[in-house]
Amino acid sequence: MSEKLLDIKNLKVQYKSGNVPVCAVNGIDLSLNKGETLGLVGETGAGKTTTALAILRLLPERTGLIPEGSITFDGQNLLEMSEEDMRTLIRGEKISMIFQDPMTSLNPVMTVGEQIAEAIEYHNSTREGEEKIPVDERVNEVLEMVGIPASRKDEYPHQFSGGMKQRVVIAMALACEPELLIADEPTTALDVTIQAQVLAMMSELRDKLGTAMILITHDLGIVASICDKVAIMYAGKIIEAGSLEDIYVSKEHHPYTVGLFGAIPNLKVETRRLSPIEGLMPDPSELPSGCYFHDRCPHCMEICKHEYPDVYTDGTHSIACHLFTKKGVQEDKDE
Amino acid sequence: MAKLTFKSQKRKENEEFALAYTRGHSMTADIWRRLLRDKSSVVSMGFLCIIFLLAIFANLLFDEALVTAQDYSATNQPPSFEHWFGTDLYGRDIFIRMVFGSRVSLAIGIITMAASMIIGGLLGAIAAYFGGKLDGIIMRVTDMFMAIPETLLALCVVAAMGASAVSLIVAMTVASIPGNCRLVRSTVLGIVDTEYVEAARASGMRNLGIIIKEIIPNSLGPIIVVSTQGIANLMLTASSLSYLGMGIQPPNPEWGAMIAEAREYLRSDPYMCIIPGIVIVLTALSFNLLGDGLRDAMDPRLKD
C-alpha cells in the first residue's frame, strides 16, 4: 500500500541577507507515503517552517536559497519545476499549507467565501471541461466540512474568532483536495480548548479525505495523538526519526530527544522539577564543528566535537549520534 | 479636520518606529557607527558641515559690506572666477549673498523647529501621559489647527504681524506645533504602554521619575529623526514665504527672496534663479537623507 508521495534528499536552505549566510536547513532527508502523517518536531528556529516553505518553493525570493538537495513529489522534482507549473499544478492543488497564525493569515478586506473560492477558481482555469469544480457549491461544502455554516461565507475575517479563522484556513487548504497538507503549528496561536477541537477535526478530515500530512509542532503530545511518523529537527538537521513507537517506546534515543521529553511535565511519575535542556541552539550563521548539539549534550565525547555523526538505523528508527554509531563500530571490531 | 479613523501612514511609520525603538535601542556609539556606514548620510553630513561652517564663519571669510554693496558696472554677470555664482541685478555677488543668506535660512529652520518641537512636544507629552479630559481638549484643538493647511496658517500669522524674520518664525512655529504635538503624543503613548514603564511604576517610581528616566530618553530617537527632516520642510516653507514677499525683506539676503528677485531675469540670466535653487534643494535633500539615515541607524530592522 505504501506508495512514496514525498521524498526529500539532502535538502539545504540558506538565507543570505548580510555577509554571512544563515544556514537554516543543513541537509535533511525525509520521506512520506501516501496518507501518512509525519510530525516534524523541534524548537523555534530549528528550520521546520523553512523546510515547509522550501517544499512549496515559497522561500523569500532574493534571500532564500536552496544550494543543494532534491524534493521529489509524486515522481517530479519540485526544485526543477517552472514557477508557473508550481503555481498551477502544485500550490493549493496538490500541496496545501496551513500557517501558524490564523489572525494574520486571512486577507482582512475579502470575505472568507471569496478567499476560499479563489483557491478553487485559479486551479479551475487550468482544468479541462468536466473536471472543473463548481465553485459556489464547493465553498459551501468545505465550510460545512470544517463546521462553519455556509451562510457565513459572506462575512469578513474580523467577524470570526481565532478558532473559526483557523477552520476557514483549513477549509481553504482542503478546497481542492490536496494530496499533501502541511500544517505549520496550526494550533499554537489558539486557546487550549479550541486547540483540541481543531486538532480532532483535522485528523478526522485527514482520515476522511486520505490526505497525507506534515504536522509541524513543538508539542510532543499532539504528535503522539495524530502522527504515524516523527522526525526531530535540531539546528537544521534531522537528529532522530522513526515511527511513533520508535520515538515513544524504544529505549534508544538521541540525547536531544531525551532532553525534549525531560522538559515535559509527567503526571504519572512524581518529579520535583522539570529538567530543561541547558544552553541555547547554535547560531545558524556560525554553526559549530562536529555534532551541532555537542556543547549542550550531557554525553559529549571527543569525536562529537570534530565530526558530524553518521546515521545509525535500526529498522525504521534512525538516530544521528556518535553514541550509537560508535558502539556499532566497536562491535564490528570485537567480532 | 482629520479626526482620522486610521492614522496617516507617516504617523503609523513613526509610531512603529517609536515602538520598535523603545523595545531596545542601541547605544549612541552603535548608532554613530551604523550612520557612518551609510553613504548618503555621510555625504549629507559633509555637505551640511560645509554649509554650517560657511554660515558661522561668513564674517571672517568675506566682507559683509559686499552683501548689500551695489555695483552698477557689474550687473547680471554670469558665473566667473571673480563671481562664482555670478552677480545679480544690482551687481552684488550672488555667492556672498548666498553665504550670508544661509545664516538666515538655517537659523529660521532650526529655531522654528526647536520652538515648535518644544511647545508641541510638551503639549503632546502632557496629553499622552495624563490622558483623559486634558488629552481630549488638546487633541480637539490640534484637530482644528490641522484643518487649516499649514502654509495658509503661516500666511495669516504673517499677515497679522507684518513681514519680518520674527513673524516668519512665529508663523511657522504656530503652523507646525499641532503636527509635532500629535507625533510626540503617539510616541509617548507607545512608551507609556510598554512593559518597562509598567515595571518602573510597579517598582514605585513616581511620575516625574518615569518621565525623566524612561519617557524622555526613549522618545528622543523619533523626535530627532522627525526634527531633522522638519528643518528641511521649514526651510522650504520659509523660502516660499519669502518668495511671496511675506518673509525676509530686501535688501537682506534670503535664498527664497533672492530667487524672487531673479524672476524678472529668468530668460536672460537663468543662473540667477537656478543656482540658489540648487543650493536650497541640496540643503533640504541633505537634511532629509540624514533623517532617513538616522532612522535606519537607530533601528536597523526597519531598513528593507
Binding site: R91, N107, A119 | K7, D143, I148, L155, G245
Partner: protein
C-alpha cells in the same frame, strides 16, 4: 452608513467654527485702524468714528466674532473688502473655480503619478528603475514649489515655447504647468508612501497564504496587497490635498492666476482682513470636505471600519 455620514457632516460644524475662531483671532492682531484703511488717511476723525460704529469695530472681541458668524450663516455675508469695497463673497467666489480646478487637477496628477509608480517601485524592489524612482522622488520632495514652477516656465514656456508662462487665457493649456508644479512634489510623497506600504503588505502572512493556495503573483500583488495598502495611502492623498491648496497659493502667484491663493497674497499686502479671513475659511472648508470624503471612502474599502460605523 447614512447615519454615519450625517454624523460626520454635523461634526464639520464645530471644526469649522474652531477654524473661523482661530483665523479671526489671529487676524484681530493686525495692527492699524481698518477705518483709516477704508476711508484713507485724509478722512476726518468723526467719519472714522462713525464707520467704526457701523462696522461694529468698537464692540468686544467675542461679540464681533459672533456677529461675523451670524452674518455668514444667515446672509452668506462675509463683510466688505477693504481693498475693493465690494462684498467679499463676490470677490472670493469669482476666484473659486480657478483654485479648485488647480487643486483638483494637482491632486489627480499626484495620485495618478504616485500610486502606480509606488506600486511598481515596490514590486521591482532593488531594481534599477526602483533606485531611479527613489532618488527622483527624494529630490522632488526637497524642491521648493516656486523654484520648480520657475524651472518649468524656463524650459516649457521660455525656451521651447510650448505652453503659456502664466495667466488663464489659454484655456486648459494654461493649467498644465501649474498642475505639474503642485502635483509632482506631492505625487513624489505619495510614491514614497505607496512604496513603503506595499513593501510592508507584501510581507504579510495573508499574502503568503494567497501564494500557498496558488494565486497568480499578479493577483497577489494587485488584488490582495494593493487593496490593503490603499487604506493608509488614501489618507496621505487626503492630507496632501491641504498641502496642495497651500502649494497652489504659490503656484497661483508664480503663474499669475486669478485664484484664491493670489487673492490671499494681494489681500495680505493690502491688510484686507475680511478678504483674507473669507479665503482661508473657504479653503479650510474644502479641505474638511475632502477629509470627510476620505473617511467615507475608508469605510467603503475596509469592512472592519464599515462594521464599526454601522454599529
Amino acid at each position: 452608513m447614512v447615519k454615519y455620514t450625517v454624523k460626520r457632516l454635523l461634526l464639520l460644524i464645530p471644526i469649522l467654527l474652531g477654524v473661523a475662531f482661530i483665523i479671526f483671532t489671529i487676524m484681530d492682531f493686525t495692527p492699524g485702524d481698518p477705518a483709516i484703511r477704508i476711508l484713507g488717511p485724509e478722512s476726518s476723525v468723526e467719519a472714522r468714528e462713525q464707520l467704526r460704529v457701523e462696522l461694529g469695530l468698537n464692540q468686544p472681541f467675542l461679540i464681533r466674532f459672533f456677529e461675523y458668524i451670524k452674518d455668514i450663516v444667515l446672509n452668506l455675508d462675509f463683510g466688505e473688502s477693504y481693498r475693493t469695497g465690494n462684498p467679499v463673497f463676490e470677490d472670493v467666489f469669482a476666484r473659486v473655480p480657478v483654485s479648485l480646478t488647480l487643486a483638483f487637477s494637482g491632486m489627480v496628477l499626484a495620485t495618478v503619478m504616485g500610486l502606480p509608480l509606488g506600486v511598481y517601485s515596490a514590486v521591482k524592489q532593488y531594481s534599477k528603475s526602483d533606485s531611479f524612482l527613489r532618488v527622483a522622488s527624494t529630490v522632488l520632495v526637497a524642491m521648493p514649489t516656486f523654484w520648480l514652477a520657475m524651472l518649468l516656465i524656463l524650459v516649457f514656456a521660455l525656451y521651447l515655447g510650448w505652453l503659456p508662462s502664466g495667466g488663464v487665457t489659454a484655456g486648459w493649456m494654461s493649467y498644465i504647468l501649474p498642475t505639474i508644479t503642485v502635483g509632482v512634489p506631492y505625487g513624489s510623497k505619495i510614491l514614497r508612501m505607496t512604496r513603503s506600504t506595499m513593501l510592508e503588505e507584501i510581507r504579510q502572512d495573508y499574502v503568503r497564504t494567497a501564494r500557498a493556495k496558488g494565486v497568480p503573483e499578479k493577483v497577489v500583488i494587485y488584488k490582495h496587497s494593493l487593496q490593503n495598502a490603499l487604506l493608509p495611502v488614501i489618507t496621505t492623498i487626503g492630507t496632501s490635498f491641504g498641502a496642495i491648496m497651500g502649494g497652489s497659493v504659490i503656484a497661483e502667484s508664480v503663474f499669475n492666476m486669478p485664484g484664491l491663493g493670489q487673492l490671499i497674497v494681494l489681500s495680505i499686502e493690502a491688510k484686507d482682513t475680511p478678504c483674507v479671513l473669507a479665503c482661508v475659511l473657504l479653503l479650510a472648508f474644502f479641505f474638511a470636505v475632502v477629509m470627510l470624503l476620505v473617511d467615507l471612502f475608508y469605510a467603503f474599502v475596509d469592512p472592519r471600519i464599515k462594521a464599526k460605523y454601522s454599529k
